[in-house]
């Protein structure tokens, strides 16, 4: 299992108000699996993704990523884990506006300490892989939504992570570029990456081998 959750609870505190985003989730995701996570808005999908991606720690319960329990890790150990094991793709693309496509893709490799020449070379290869070999020096604002998301996917691949986490990657895209993004992600899964996709789109969701349905911070159903 590349990801294992045991009785995971996540509570957000806003002053005196407590929001229970996840209330006791147990889940196992095998290496190389293709998982979709569906559920109504507010059901805890993004919270779950953040935990799987070592971006946050659970309030209680355990989250194992590649055998390591993240609940006991400090900030820098979490950062290291994200850097090596996880590639995020967000609905909002979250590219850095003042950097070119090439520089955005090279960013995670900078944090990993890869020399400039090597990371620029790999960033270029990755952009070619996602079909943006002609857009290397464009800033995000000069790219279409579909192109931006493909830059984000290339960035997610930068440090060759085990796991790709995509939280509503097609949410801001039209149908055809959304489809292209999903196909690109599936291609990565075929190449061996564990792929977890949050989606509202039933058609996209159905394509996954393993389908997790959430409601009110709990797993309602797992289909295989």
């Amino acid at each position: 299992m590349v990801i294992r959750l045991e009785e995971v609870v996540k509570v957000y505190r806003l002053g005196r108000v407590e929001v229970r985003a996840l209330s006791g989730i147990s889940l196992e995701i095998p290496r190389g699996e293709y998982v979709s996570i569906m559920g109504p808005s507010g059901s805890g999908k993004s919270t779950l993704m953040n935990l799987i991606g070592a971006l946050d720690r659970p309030t209680s319960g355990r989250v194992y990523i590649d055998g390591v329990d993240i609940s006991g890790l400090n900030d820098d150990q979490l950062a290291l884990l994200r850097r090596k094991k996880v590639g995020f793709v967000f609905q909002q693309f979250n590219l850095i506006g003042k950097l070119t496509a090439l520089e955005n893709v090279a960013l995670p490799m900078w944090f990993a300490g890869i020399p400039r020449a090597a990371r620029m070379r790999r960033a270029k290869e990755l952009l070619e892989l996602v079909g943006l070999g002609e857009r290397l020096h464009h800033k995000p604002a000069e790219l279409s939504g579909g192109e931006r998301q493909r830059v984000a996917i290339a960035r997610a691949l930068a440090n060759d992570p085990e796991i790709i986490l995509a939280d509503e990657p097609t949410g801001n895209l039209d149908t055809s570029s959304g489809m292209a993004v999903i196909e690109l992600l599936e291609e990565l899964n075929r190449l061996g990456k564990t792929l977890v996709v949050v989606t509202h789109d039933l058609d996209f969701g159905r394509r996954a081998r393993m389908r997790v349905k959430l409601r009110d911070g709990m797993v309602r159903e797992v289909e295989r």
Partner: protein
Amino acid sequence: MLEYLRFSLRNLSHHKLRSFLTLLGVIIGIMAVVSMISIGSGMKASLKEQLEQLGSDKVFILPRIAYGTAAATLTDGDAEAIGRVPGVAFVSPLYSVAGDVTYRNERRIVKIYGVDPEKAEATFGAGASGYRLLKGRWLQRGDRYKAVIGYGVHSDVFSRDVNVGNTILIHGVEFQVVGVFKKTGDREKDYTIYANLDVIREIFGVGDRVTLIIARAERGADIEEVRLRIERLLEDRKGSDENFFVMTQKEILERVGEAYRVVQVVFGGLAAVSLIVGAIGIANTMVMNVTERTREIGVLKATGASNAQVMKIFIADAALLGVAGGLAGVLLGVLISMGINAAAAHYLGEGVLTTTVTPALAAFALAFSLIIGVVAGIYPAYRAVKLDPVEALRA
């Protein structure tokens, strides 16, 4: 580190106007520091040079100028008495006055030195004190209505050049010009007319008064000892030495140094205030910057940036802001220094005051602004580090 600067350069150029406004404090502060130090060292160098030209074996005796009290006076009698002090080789009394001087019907106010032709030669004559004759000769014993003029009087004061053989009127009395000095670069010397002490005093009706006595010590005499003896003598003759300065060149330099230190403290305070304002400005902009870039910080963290790396990114930003301000400040300081040199050359004469921004001074200023940037960046960078990545990405 280069990588962090490369990244920061993007942020700086992204917000040019705001960056500039933020940096005004640092720019002004560094500019003040740079121009203060360059002017100060230039002033010190030129005063030192002037005094060195006068020689280190001389004691200067002059009345203290005190407002509201009757000005103390020195007379020929004092000069003679000082001349008899053991260790004094000879004294050169001087009477200086600003008087009306007419040449070809043009009337100007010019500084006049009444000097004793015989004794003055050793003090003011060829070779000493930077005076060199351009034309003609120095005053001689028995010269009464003869004058030697500085280069400025020769070439600049009147619309036509005054030359050897020409006649000028000092306070209505005719004098024949017998010599012209070369340019010394010292405005005081270049714009002065030198004539017989007794004649000048007669014309201005000041009896046996002198305004400055220069006593030259014998070779090998202890100059400080000689100075003390002169001071005691004046005390005896005048009842008190309070009204007189009795100074060696070293003491004059020390006094100049003191005055300079006061200037330094004032300018330094000014610079310190603007640099503090500058640092606060940078810190403020950086806090704003961190707030605006919350989402970006989330992205940096999501893509694997450690706390130390986030810290460095924002410190580098602030450091770059500081250095940019420092660079602008140094450039402005250089311009001010150049402007002062040009003005000094025009109004005071060539070579009187030369300020320079040395590479070491520029490097110091830049290093200083770098430190200001880094210090100002610590708190904002810490805020960036403390941001929760999940919260940051939701921003």
